[in-house]
Each structure stands twice: as C-alpha cells, then as structure tokens.
C-alpha cells in the first residue's frame, strides 16, 4: 500500500493500463504536458514516469481543441482495435461531442446487432466549487444516465478511482468517468498493485439502522461527515456510495432501506432529473412498503452556477444540509407498524 491522492490514483490506473496493453492510448488536449497531472511523473518531462517519455507520441496524443472529433475518433478507433482513454479535461466540454456520445458511442453496438465493440473510456473532471463560473462548473452525469449504452463511474475516493478506472479500461463497453476536482488532493492508502473494482457494486462505507444515506461523488464525503455527527446524536446512518451510476447497484440500496426505512440521497447534480431522482424513483417503486418517511434529496438547486465566492458554495450539498435532511426524515411521523 502507498499513500496516493485521488489524482495520483487516476494516473496510476492509467499507467497500469498503458503498461499492460499496447492497444491502450491516451488522447486529449495538453496530455503531453501533463497539465492536469494524471499523465504520470511530476510536472516536468524530465521526471520519472512521464507518460510521453514512457509510452511515446504514438500512444500519448495531444489533440486539437475539437471535442467532437476527439470523442468520435476514439469511438471509431475502439471499433477497430484500439482501447482509447480520452481525457476531456473539464466535464463542461462534453456537450461539444454530445452527438458522438449519444448517436455513435452509445448506439453503435446495439444498432449494428453486436458487430461493434467500444472499449473506450472518457475521463473528465467536474470543476464545481472553485469559482470558475457557469461554464466550468457542470455536473452533467444525469443526462448521460438517460442514454442507454453508456456506463458511468463517479469515484469518490483514491482507491475507488484506481480500481474502477482499471476496470473501465479493460471493459469492452464505453465508460464515462466523472471525476471531482475538489477531490483531487484527497489522499489515502492505495494498493499499488493491479486491482479492479467491478461496476455495479456499491460500496457501503458505514452500516446503519435509522437512515440510509446514498452519496454520489463529493456527496459521499458530505454523507460521511453527516453520519459521524449524527452518531453523536444517537442516529445511526448507513452511507452507501453506488460508485457506478450505470450499472446501478440498486439491490444494495434497497436492502439498506429495508432495514432503515428512511432514505436521503446526496447528489451534487442539479435537482431535476438527477441521479437522486432516479434512486428515489427506484426505491419508491420497489421498496415502498419499507419506507417510514419521505425520501429526501440533497442536491444542487436548479439554478446555474454563479461565479462570486459569496454565493456559489451555498448551492452544493454539504454535511449540514445532509444532516438537516436526515432530521426531517427522522421527524416524519413513523408510518409503518
């Protein structure tokens, strides 16, 4: 085990994958210069571990600022023998390539009756909470969840990031990885050996008996802080991180709700049609009889993200809002026997 940051873990997973399989390539804007710090080594080409030095210019490819062709060409390359990792830097740039994501990446295997495989990973970071204004602060995974054919990972810890990303690269389906910029510096002990975390298997961070808190991406940390504080008040909260939104491990969530009867979902996306909405709908349909109280969503309200530091942070889910939501569900008149 080694201490790795979230960003370092992503770099490690990419390096492993590059070393293991010569068909893996990385393409994206400024990947050669390692601007975002996931291309190995340090910040200088002279540093040990620099991807361009290690893997060469044929496999580490600086692209023009042309997201549509970047995504589409990666899809075409994946259909013909490569296993590209596309670094799209900020998640807000994905829209530029939306047609390729929806009409090619998600549909080609299906439309062509299984003739095509698309082993390709699209990485991007959500930069919200950093005073970059509306154009750089998006958390757009819910819209991709509505597109059958894509798989979606939202790692919340360094070890999950490494294990999930490794699985993603090995998988024959297209994966979108939404990484949270505010987690980049988060550190923990991570296995430096190869390991893989399966998609569709939630991580239960804490067991609990009074309420189930499902956290997504940064929401996991809000949930964990909330759970810790709630414990002091005698409220036992389970904290579950689905880790992948497609496929979604609804079983683990349903099982926990069966025990607690209460559900709070912490999701940094905008409220309407969020991942939280989906999880709520699944539980309201499949575990209604277990529910003792309203299902609460702690999400970013349906407004765009303002620049001013005075008014941005209030918008995102945090521990305080999560605690407030849990209190509300605990106060709700118990309905079950």
């Amino acid at each position: 085990m080694t201490v790795m940051s979230y960003l370092g873990a992503i770099g490690a997973a990419q390096r492993e994958a590059m070393e293991t399989d010569p068909r893996v390539i990385i393409m994206g804007e400024d990947v050669e210069a390692n601007v975002y710090g996931t291309m190995g080594g340090g910040k200088s080409r002279a540093d040990k571990g620099d991807f361009l030095q290690l893997f060469g210019a044929s496999r580490i490819r600086n692209t023009p600022i042309s997201e549509e062709i970047m995504v589409g060409a990666a899809a075409g390359a994946a259909m013909t023998g490569l296993r590209p990792i596309v670094d799209l830097s900020y998640s807000s740039f994905l829209y530029m390539a939306m047609d390729q994501f929806v009409n090619q990446v998600a549909k080609n295997r299906y439309m062509f009756g299984g003739q095509a495989s698309l082993p390709v990973v699209f990485r991007s970071a959500m930069f919200f909470g950093l005073n970059t204004g509306a154009h750089h602060s998006d958390r757009p995974y819910p819209m991709f969840m509505n597109v059958p054919g894509l798989k979606i990972m939202v790692p919340a810890t360094p070890s999950d990031a490494k294990g999930l990303l490794r699985t993603a690269v090995d998988m024959d389906d297209p994966v979108l990885s939404f990484e949270a910029c505010i987690l980049w510096g988060l550190k923990e002990e991570v296995d430096e050996q190869e390991y893989r975390i399966p998609f569709g298997v939630a991580r239960t961070h804490r067991e609990g008996t009074d309420v189930t808190i499902v956290g997504i991406s940064t929401g996991v940390h809000a949930a964990l802080q909330a759970a810790q504080k709630l414990e002091a008040e005698g409220i036992s909260a389970a904290v579950i991180d689905p880790r992948t939104l497609v496929p979604l491990d609804s079983e683990t969530i349903l099982r926990s709700v069966a025990r607690t009867g209460r559900l709070v979902i912490v999701d940094p996306a905008h409220t309407t049609c969020s991942a939280a909405a989906e999880i709520s709908a699944i539980v309201a349909e499949q575990a209604f009889d277990c529910l003792k109280a309203p299902i609460m969503r702690v999400t970013t309200p349906d407004t765009q993200i303002p620049f001013s530091p005075a008014i941005e942070k209030q918008l995102y889910p945090d521990a305080a809002k999560t605690i407030a939501a849990v209190r509300k569900t605990m106060d709700a008149r118990a309905r079950a026997a």
Partner: protein, 328 residues
C-alpha cells in the same frame, strides 16, 4: 490507370447490384414490405462503386442515410442486407439497424449513419487505429453535400491532416440536401476547402463515369496508404429518385430540364456502352450479367421473406457486452 478486365466487369456488376437492389427496395417500400422508408443510390452508382473499388478488401468504410450502395459497393452479401431492410433476424444487424444503419464488419463496412455527418469521426478513428497499430488499412468516409456543412467534417479533416491519417473524405455531391440546392447553403466549392486543411481536394465533375471516380479515389487511397495523409474527394452526381422513397414534395425544387439532362447520363448505361465499345465484353454477356444480378437480388428478397422476425427479447440484447456487465 490500366485496369484488368475483370475489375471492369466487377465494377459493372456492383453498379448493377446497387441499381437492382434499390429498385426492388423502392417497390417494397411502396408496397409496405419494407417498414419506414429508404434512400436509394439510383443514379449515383458510379460514384459509390468507383470509390469503393478503389479500396482494398480490408479497408474501412462508413456511410450515411443513403445507405445501401455503400456496403454493396464494398462487397457485402445482398441477402442479409435485404433481410435487414425488412427487419428480419437474419439481417446483417439482426434487424436492429434497418435501412439507415446497415453495417457489415466482415467487409469493413463500419456503419451507415442516420445522423448527417455523424459517421465521419468514426472513419477518422478507424484510420487512427490503422496508423497506431500499423495495419496499413485505409478508411473512407462517404457523406453528402449537405453533410459538408457539418462542423465535425472540418474537425476530422484537421485532425487527419495533422496526424497524417490514412483516410479519404468522400463527398457525394448530388447537388441537393433533401429539398435544398447545395449552392444555396454552401459557400464556395466543397473540394476547395481542402487546401485550408493542408490536404489535396479533388473535384470529379463527372461523377457518372465510374472510371473517373475510380481514378480520383485511387489516387487518394494510394496517397493514404503511402503514409502521406488524407484527401478530400468531391464527386458531382445526381440522384434519380426523390430524397426518400414515398416522400412527396409539392415544390419543384429540381428543375425538370436539369433532371432530364442528368438522367440521360445514367452511370450503368454509360459504363455498359464503355465495356462494349472498348471490346471488354459484349452485349450478350452483359445481358447475362444483368439477369444474374436480378436473380441475385430476387434471391435476397426471397431470403428476407423466408426469414423470421427477431424474438422480442432481442430488443434487449447487444446494448452492452453480455451478460450485462460481463467485463467486470
């Protein structure tokens, strides 16, 4: 360019296949035997076949909604194509694709696209594979004059150019996008956009002549295979039918005199004349060929008719690797 006789005969064979297949498909749409609609390549056979036959068997190709000609030109078997059009389980995509989404990976056909312009990046990616893996394969992207105004084409041309990718961008300029005359929505000449992206732009003015098309595309393919990068080839041609079968537009967006003049230059007839005039073969042999192709198309129709529809569970297959999440 000298071309062996059997290549010339094969050109005519494939053009005939497209013509007969599309004529048959058109009828079937009108009779309700094919659901939805189809977009025929009738009148554009020389442009399709001249381009496809400049490619090697292992080369890649992507296309668009005007879709049957491309895989046929690339050598796909007709039965599974026709079965696909009728939504049968034996269709080349198992009935999941339909007319606009034909793909036959066996012959390098990576897929037609119902979204205008959207398959150009796929071909570019196939060329990237070829370059990185060193397979020597060339990719060709078919698209229309209408698609030439989609931004992704220029992103693709730029990327292919700076990376030196083995790809040919093949613009089928049939002068209209649905009801819209190309000159009303296209600034300048499409082929002349190529130099701005540091690649040759070739305009084949007579796209009804399969040999002229073949010459131009062969030059571009050779260039690509030699590692010299991409080219843009624009072929001027004309579709003889309506944009799609069954569509009825009230406006005369195509001038009847223009239409008549172009229809006189039927690529299949022109090349038939070329073959006999140059003593490559004779009328009797060509009649026999035509009968053979007609039979081939009828057999494809029969194959489709004899095939079953897919089981309802098939709608849930092939979205991901199977079983779902198999590759954990």
């Amino acid at each position: 360019m000298t071309r062996p006789n059997d290549l010339l005969i094969e050109m005519q064979t494939r053009m005939l296949r497209i013509r007969k297949f599309d004529e048959r498909a058109s009828k079937m749409v009108k009779r309700g035997e094919i659901p939805g609609t189809v977009h025929t390549s009738i009148g554009q056979e020389a442009q399709v076949v001249g381009a496809c036959m400049a490619l090697a068997e292992g080369d890649y190709m992507t296309g668009n909604h005007r879709s049957h000609g491309h895989p046929i030109g690339k050598g796909a078997a007709l039965g599974p194509l026709m079965a696909e059009l009728t939504g049968k389980a034996t269709g080349v995509c198992g009935g999941k694709g339909g007319s606009m989404h034909l793909a036959d990976f066996k012959v390098g056909s990576l897929g037609e696209s119902g979204i205008v312009g959207s398959s150009i990046p796929i071909a570019t990616g196939a060329a990237l594979s070829s370059k990185v893996l060193g397979t020597g394969r060339v990719a060709l992207a078919f698209f229309g004059d209408g698609a030439a105004n989609q931004g992704c084409l220029y992103e693709a041309m730029n990327l292919a150019s700076v990376w030196g990718l083995p790809i040919v961008f093949l613009c089928e300029n049939n002068q209209y996008a649905l009801s819209t005359p190309a000159h009303t929505v296209t600034a300048g000449v499409i082929a002349e956009r190529a130099p701005g992206f540091a690649m040759p732009g070739i305009r084949v003015e007579d796209g009804q002549d399969v040999l002229k098309v073949h010459d131009a595309v062969k030059t571009a393919v050779d260039r690509a295979r030699a590692g010299k990068g991409p080219s843009l080839v624009e072929v001027v041609t004309y579709r003889f039918n309506e944009h799609s079968e069954g569509l009825r537009l009230g406006t005369d967006y195509r001038n009847p005199a223009e239409k008549e003049a172009w229809m006189k230059r039927d690529p299949v007839k022109l090349f038939r004349a070329y073959l006999t005039d140059n003593g490559i073969t004779d009328s009797a042999a060509l009649d026999a060929l035509e009968a053979e192709v007609t039979a081939e198309v009828e057999a494809a129709v029969q194959f489709a008719a004899d095939s079953d529809y897919p089981d309802s569970s098939v709608a849930f297959k092939h979205l991901y690797t199977e079983p779902f999440g198999a590759n954990l």
